[in-house]
């Protein structure tokens, strides 16, 4: 790309590196934010966008590197520091106090007070309503935040950020929960802020949105900046190329083998949502021996919830689950594992690993029962052999299995979680976003392993929101949208367009009803 003019830079990140236990989220990244412009940031899941924003918002401190504002080096040690420097953020996950009113949420930490007489609730509600009206939100400022639907909660977050009078406003996927009309309003507000000289940082996966609203664009990939340009100079193809990189992903070649008989089937799995409707909406699906079934869907499509139902994690789901023709009873994860199911959860840190334990202990924790002598004594030698086997089979890079599991990279941690699941000897393996937050090399390893396991006769169900991944890895592709299974198709008959349009299906019908 041509060198673009430096414009009116308000904030600059120089050489920022951020390491978490297990993964380096940002590697020597530079970023310039310009006044009175929409600075767009794109990248795949786990590319490091959110980490970068959390650093700017003072939520995280960089491991290495500097932050400069208006030509001066600054230190953002806390969110309060960032606010003092005029930085506001709308987080991807909602950060509202559900038990407080909308007005109280908007004015949290800077309540309008009347001296000793405490908080002036009336003034707060009035001022909050002003901001909300500007967003045409149709929300009354004295309702409780938790009583609002997600889309309106999102608007409250935006109103709070706008009310801060910020010089830099970060919006992390602000439209993910908004309707088309609400998005239009938001864009009008953004244009208004821009005119007043605010630097907007805009993160989104929706490329057409970025093209519509962005001025400058920065692309992140695996924690590094891979592209920087003015939006008027580029097209969506350029974005995709910078995001994915010229090196095509190393997907394991298909091992041609015919899948066997059906080993796993669900019938009419339903999981009601607390706010009404279904998180999983009458899903019936079957997998055959040696088959990889990829479930594609956007965030909130109900893939994780479906897996959790299958593992018996939800008390109140309905429907039937069969393994090798036998219906599984009860709602008990321990029994489900014994009956041949195993899940690799999406959130490795919260649900996959025990961070305080060693690599070896993490691998064997779910299958200790296999190494028993006399019914209670763990045969350490047999356990050690099994652990060594798993490390070899999955090519886990572990110098010493007795080291803490957190000393490894994210990709190797993921392999440990996979190894743990495999050591229970499953017939059906469920993998929820198995490539999330791991680097390219580890991804390729994981994909190869999935292929090999399918070749050995394991039935695999995996979920992903990566189109390329689902097209390349699956024998059959299922698409979920808004809790419903909208399409199941053989890979040979699937096209990308088909899958994408199917993934929006559930929302269309919903909006028609609404």
């Amino acid at each position: 790309m041509a060198e673009q003019d430096d414009g009116d830079v308000i904030l600059e990140l120089k050489d920022i590196t951020k390491a978490y236990s297990g993964i380096v989220a940002l590697k020597k990244a530079d970023l310039k934010l310009r006044r009175g412009a929409v600075n767009v940031l794109v990248g795949e899941n786990g590319a490091g966008k959110s980490t970068m924003m959390r650093i700017i918002a003072g939520v995280e401190r960089p491991t290495l590197g500097e932050i400069w504002m208006d030509g001066e080096r600054i230190h953002l040690n806390s969110p309060a520091d960032a606010v003092r420097h005029g930085i506001g953020i709308v987080f991807q996950e909602l950060n509202l106090f559900g038990n407080l009113s909308v007005a109280e949420n908007i004015f949290a930490t800077r309540e309008i007070t009347r001296g000793l007489r405490g908080i002036d609730h009336k003034a707060q509600v009035e001022k909050a309503n002003e901001f909300l009206n500007r967003l045409e939100a149709g929300i009354s400022a004295d309702t409780l935040a938790e009583d609002l639907p997600i889309g309106q909660q999102q608007l409250v977050e935006i109103a709070r950020a706008v009310s801060l009078d910020t010089r830099i406003l970060i919006m992390d996927e602000p439209t993910s929960a908004l309707s088309a009309a609400e998005v239009d309003v938001l864009f009008r507000v953004i244009a208004d802020l821009k005119a007043r000289g605010v630097a907007i940082v805009y993160i989104s996966h929706r490329l057409e949105e970025l093209m519509r609203i962005g001025d400058y664009i920065t692309v992140l990939k695996d924690g590094q900046i891979t592209g920087h340009a003015m939006v008027k100079d580029i097209d969506t193809r350029w974005i995709v190329r910078s995001m994915i990189g010229s090196d095509a992903k190393d997907f394991a070649k298909q091992v041609e083998h015919e899948p066997g008989a059906e080993v796993f089937r669900t019938e009419d799995i339903c999981l009601p949502r607390a706010q009404g409707g279904y998180a999983v909406d009458h899903v019936s699906i079957g997998v055959r021996k040696g088959e990889i079934l990829g479930i594609y869907g956007l965030m909130g499509a109900g893939r994780s919830e479906l897996f959790e139902c299958i593992m018996g994690r939800h008390e109140h789901y309905t429907g039937k689950i069969f393994v090798e023709g036998e219906e599984l009873k009860g709602r008990d994860t321990t029994r489900r594992i014994r009956e041949g199911l195993s899940l690799i959860p999406e959130d490795r840190q919260r649900e996959g690993l025990v961070q305080s334990m060693s690599i070896a202990d993490n691998l064997s924790m779910a299958s200790l029962g296999q190494f028993l002598k006399a019914g209670f004594h763990i045969d350490l030698k047999r356990e050690k052999e099994a652990i060594a086997n798993a490390i070899r089979n999955l090519s886990i890079k572990a110098k010493n299995p007795d080291l803490d599991v957190t000393s490894m990279s994210g990709g190797n941690q993921q392999k440990v979680v996979i190894g743990k699941a495999l050591m229970t000897g499953p017939k059906v393996l469920l993998m929820d976003e198995p490539s999330r937050g791991i680097d390219v090399g580890a991804k390729a390893d994981v994909f190869r392993t999935m292929r090999r396991l399918a070749g050995e006769g394991l039935a695999i169900l995996f979920s992903t929101s990566d189109l390329e991944e689902v097209m390349a890895l699956s024998d059959r592709i299922a698409v979920m949208s808004n809790g419903r299974l909208v399409m199941v198709v053989d890979r040979r008959d699937a096209t990308e367009d088909m899958v994408i349009s199917a993934s929006a299906e559930g929302h269309k019908t919903k909006r028609m009803h609404a």
């Binding site: 380096v24 305080s356 202990d361 924790m365 763990i378 010493n400 743990k420």
Partner: protein, 355 residues
């Protein structure tokens, strides 16, 4: 040790950090040697055999409770009720020996000492089970659930004799319940019986933590409860077990103390739960769960025991003793936190450098 050699290669700055880490990891040992050396210089007769035996008896009481407490803390919980269980179990032991169990129609059943011990231990386990049920089935926070049983058990101990001490638990020859004193005053090969029991319980607990699936699961549950559930570990069963085991350990202490004094006093064991927590933490058990060892806890219990006895021998006022004990505990936790932060920094810096 591997961390030390590994980091030494990456640079001077990191290697000093690693050396410091090693020192911090050995802090309980260092503390134990420090108190022993200190008191053998400043406290007369500290190293005499008689004193050693006396001190080990004292430390043993803390150690029993601390072993049970360690498992509880590793699961991420806390058991405040153990001191009260000690008191209640002591009273029940005394009552069974002195009065037996009165049946209707005027009969009274007396048990021999072994039966008494078994009954008392079952009572301890049952109180632990109540804690466990409150925490797992009724979702009461461990702190509150065991605070409740702390009061209930202590109240019951006081009610049992209307606050009176049950003296002279020698038993009667015609009832066949003599010999209670053996537990507290007997010795085998020069070591007090209670110390032998401690050795058996400690080895059993250490074996359990390493060689039995339920024991391993204690660490998993404390490290990450959600991940444990997802891996098919029956979390509630693990929690039930640790509180029952803690109750069992408390019952043993109740028996040992009553036997030593040959009397049961309902206030026995007051505040012992705090000593147990302190010993566990001093021994490297992390209050946030997931980490801890039986060996470390035993050393921690001995540090606290030796510290209090040594200060008494030096004639330090009991008020100052409390101040010093408190400071030692605080320093232990501060060092623990510093170690964790340092460890994290060292690994993160390594990862950032390696890219």
């Amino acid at each position: 040790m591997t961390t030390a050699t590994h980091t030494a290669a990456t640079g001077n700055h990191l290697s000093t950090g690693a050396a410091l880490l090693t020192l911090m990891k050995l802090r309980t040992f260092i503390a134990l040697f420090a108190v022993i050396i200190f008191f053998s210089i400043f406290a007369p007769n500290f190293l005499s055999t008689a004193n050693m035996i006396l001190m080990s008896k004292h430390a043993t009481q803390n150690a029993f409770l601390a072993i049970g407490m360690t498992f509880v803390i590793i699961t991420g919980g806390i058991d405040l009720s153990v001191g009260s269980i000690v008191g209640l179990c002591g009273m029940i032991a005394g009552g069974l020996i002195m009065y037996g169990v009165a049946l209707p129609l005027g009969y009274t059943v007396y048990f021999n000492i072994v039966e008494v011990a078994v009954i008392v231990m079952v009572v301890g386990i049952l109180i632990g089970a109540v804690n466990g049920l409150l925490i797992t089935r009724l979702n009461v926070a461990p702190f509150i659930a065991t605070l409740g049983t702390l009061y209930v058990a202590r109240g019951m101990a006081l009610l049992y004799s209307d606050g009176q001490t049950l003296p002279n638990l020698t038993g009667r020859e015609d009832l066949g319940n003599q010999g209670f004193s053996y537990l507290g005053s007997g010795s085998i090969l020069g070591l007090p019986v209670s110390v032998w029991i401690l050795i058996v319980v400690a080895l059993g607990a250490a074996y359990f933590a390493r060689f039995v699936p339920l024991g391993r699961h204690i660490f998993a549950v404390g490290g990450n409860e959600r991940a444990s559930r997802m891996s098919g570990i029956r979390v509630n069963r693990v929690k039930m077990f640790v509180y029952m085991f803690s109750g069992f350990c408390a019952a043993i202490v109740g028996l040992v103390i009553s036997s030593e004094l040959m009397a049961s006093h309902p206030a026995t064991g007051t505040n012992l739960e705090l000593n147990a927590i302190a010993a566990a933490v001093l021994g490297g058990t992390s209050m946030s769960g997931g980490r801890g060892t039986i060996g470390g806890t035993i050393i921690g219990a001995f540090v606290i025991g030796i510290l209090s006895d040594g200060l008494v021998m030096m004639g330090v006022s009991s008020f100052w003793q409390m101040v010093i004990k408190g400071l030692v505990i605080i320093v232990a936790v501060v060092v623990d936190q510093a170690q964790r932060r340092l460890q994290q920094r060292v690994t993160l810096m390594q990862m950032a450098k390696a890219g």
